[in-house]
């Protein structure tokens, strides 16, 4: 049996958890929504940090530290082996995301390289992106990004994850600061700041903006993905849970604000008109990052340098999250008795193969992003169900408030987990699925359409069916390992 590794210090653990939380969503999704809805979006985004993300992060930290097992083993230990499938669903969702997340890392890496070498076509960025995305290069860069992640995880917790995050996170902050200085010194940068922070009453009263704020909070912090639980397996026994949870959550949102300050003023300053800037923010995540931003940055002196800064920041943010996903999958296999050196190649090869369709077909990528992104809301609610079944008060006393000197969590936690998180999850699911019918009134039930309700239901059912079927085997493997 392999010796259990630990993070060498609290700072190492925090660099890893904050690095995990800060991902592509902070760089390409947050500025897009914050620029569109301004302060009216920022208010729910900040409120739901407390009412969704932080309670779930506390739950994950507490479980990982107590059980010292990955997601499936933890659900099995706390809820009983009959419920291993629940942990299985959380793991399945995060791994399905990992398959295409590696592709995003590859895109960012490729665009960073063409930016520094000055090979990025400055005449037609949409055409450049389309020709890149329809070729074989995304597959090559998916494999390169995955190999980088795999090499990091192969080194283990201290030599791999810890060392990588010591470089990635501070570098990301420096890159964002360079971006902010450039953006805020551009002419008319204040227009972008105005859009970013001003509150429009019509948006503040819109349920849609509140649900966007909740969605961003749910997706951006990594709460309910099982990733924090995985890192918590390696935390020291007397480490604070609540204080570390607050640092992870506030660190993630601080980085989102940095990204917003670097991107939104630049878009409004460089776009030919206000309408063009507003349209740029509606271009979608990949459209904004890989078409609009290079196009706008090409107007700057030292355009290649600033493009390279942006894509390197995107790559660092994405790869620090990818390594946590690879670790989640590796940890689960280690719980089944495989040593890291055997588990990791299996995880890496599976990710290479299962990520390939997303690398080759953008439509497939978007389908997976839609299905499993939404699946994460279910994952978050499964953590709440685990705690409710165990007993919320008992969980708070036996799992959370156990470290002397840590912030003590009061009864607000009980009410949030029992009522608010399930209500938020139901609201989000109903709203997004309803939107999918609105987008596609003719084919919403069709499982072969990329963003339909039908594709979500079918893929979730297939995953759940498979996990129910495998539950017995999972139980036996875990029992054998424990014995």
């Amino acid at each position: 049996m392999e010796k259990q590794e630990h993070f060498t210090s609290r700072w190492a653990l925090l660099l890893a958890t904050v690095g995990m939380a800060i991902g592509a969503g902070n760089i390409w999704r947050f500025p897009r929504l914050a620029g569109q809805y301004g302060g009216a979006f920022l208010i729910p985004w900040a409120i739901f940090l407390i009412l969704w993300s932080i309670p779930l992060i506390i739950i994950e930290f507490s479980i990982g530290r107590k059980t010292r097992k990955g997601v499936i083993g933890s659900f099995s230990e706390i809820m009983g082996s009959k419920y291993s499938w629940m942990g299985g669903f959380v793991a399945f969702c995060t791994m399905a995301i990992m398959f295409y997340y590696s592709v995003v890392c590859g895109w960012a890496l490729r665009y960073f390289l063409v930016s520094i070498t000055g090979k990025i076509d400055v005449t037609n960025h949409a055409q450049y992106w389309n020709s890149f995305i329809s070729g074989y290069q995304p597959l090559v860069f998916h494999l390169i990004a995955l190999s980088i992640g795999g090499i990091i995880i192969f080194q283990g917790v201290t030599k791999g994850i810890e060392r990588a995050n010591r470089i990635l996170l501070p570098s990301l902050v420096v890159l964002l600061l360079i971006g902010i200085i450039r953006a805020l010194t551009l002419p008319h940068a204040s227009i972008g700041l105005n859009y970013f922070f001003s509150i429009k009453l019509e948006y503040l009263l819109s349920y849609r903006v509140w649900l966007e704020g909740l969605s961003q909070s749910a997706w951006s912090t990594g709460a309910g993905w099982g990733l924090i639980l995985t890192y918590a397996v390696y935390m020291k026994e007397k480490e604070d849970i609540v204080l570390n949870s607050f640092i992870t959550a506030f660190g993630n949102n601080s980085a989102s604000l940095l990204a917003g300050l670097a991107i939104i003023p630049a878009i409004f300053s460089l776009a030919p008109s206000l309408v063009a800037a507003e349209n740029a923010l509606k271009a979608g995540n990949d459209g904004l990052s890989f078409i609009v931003i290079p196009q706008l940055f090409s107007k700057l002196p030292a355009a290649h340098f600033f493009s390279a800064v942006f894509f390197l920041a995107l790559f660092f943010a994405a790869i620090s999250s990818l390594i946590s996903m690879l670790e989640l999958a590796t940890r689960i296999m280690m719980d089944f008795g495989l040593p890291r050196r055997k588990a990791l190649p299996i995880v890496t090869i599976a990710t290479a193969i299962l990520g390939a369709p997303s690398a080759l077909y953008l439509k497939f990528f978007k389908n997976q992003d839609w299905v499993w992104g939404l699946g994460l809301i279910i994952s978050g609610s499964l953590f709440a169900i685990l705690v409710i079944r165990f007993g919320v008060n008992k969980f708070r006393k036996e799992f959370v408030n156990i470290v002397p000197g840590d912030i003590k969590i009061g009864k607000w936690f009980n009410h949030t987990v029992k009522f608010l998180i399930p209500a938020e999850a139901i609201l989000l699911l109903v709203w997004w699925l309803y939107r999918s019918i609105e987008w596609n009134p003719q084919g919403w039930y069709n499982p072969f359409q990329a963003d339909s309700l039908g594709t979500c239901i079918v893929q979730w059912m297939v995953a759940l069916g498979l996990l129910f079927f495998l539950n017995g085997i999972i139980q036996r493997r875990l029992l054998k390992r424990n014995n």
């Binding site: 609290r10 302060g39 900040a46 970013f196 922070f197 509150i199 640092i247 000197g405």
Partner: protein, 39 residues
């Protein structure tokens, strides 16, 4: 920038960045105390 935006910017950056700095400082103190105790 409008007054509305300036006020919101101060509140938001103050609460998120301020909160992050406060929790980091608290963690730093906890680490220092635990090191002192070990000595």
């Amino acid at each position: 920038m409008s007054t509305n935006a300036i006020i919101m910017m101060i509140i938001l950056l103050g609460s998120i960045w301020g909160g992050f700095s406060y929790f980091l400082q608290r963690a730093y103190k906890r680490e220092k105390e635990s090191k002192d105790r070990k000595k």
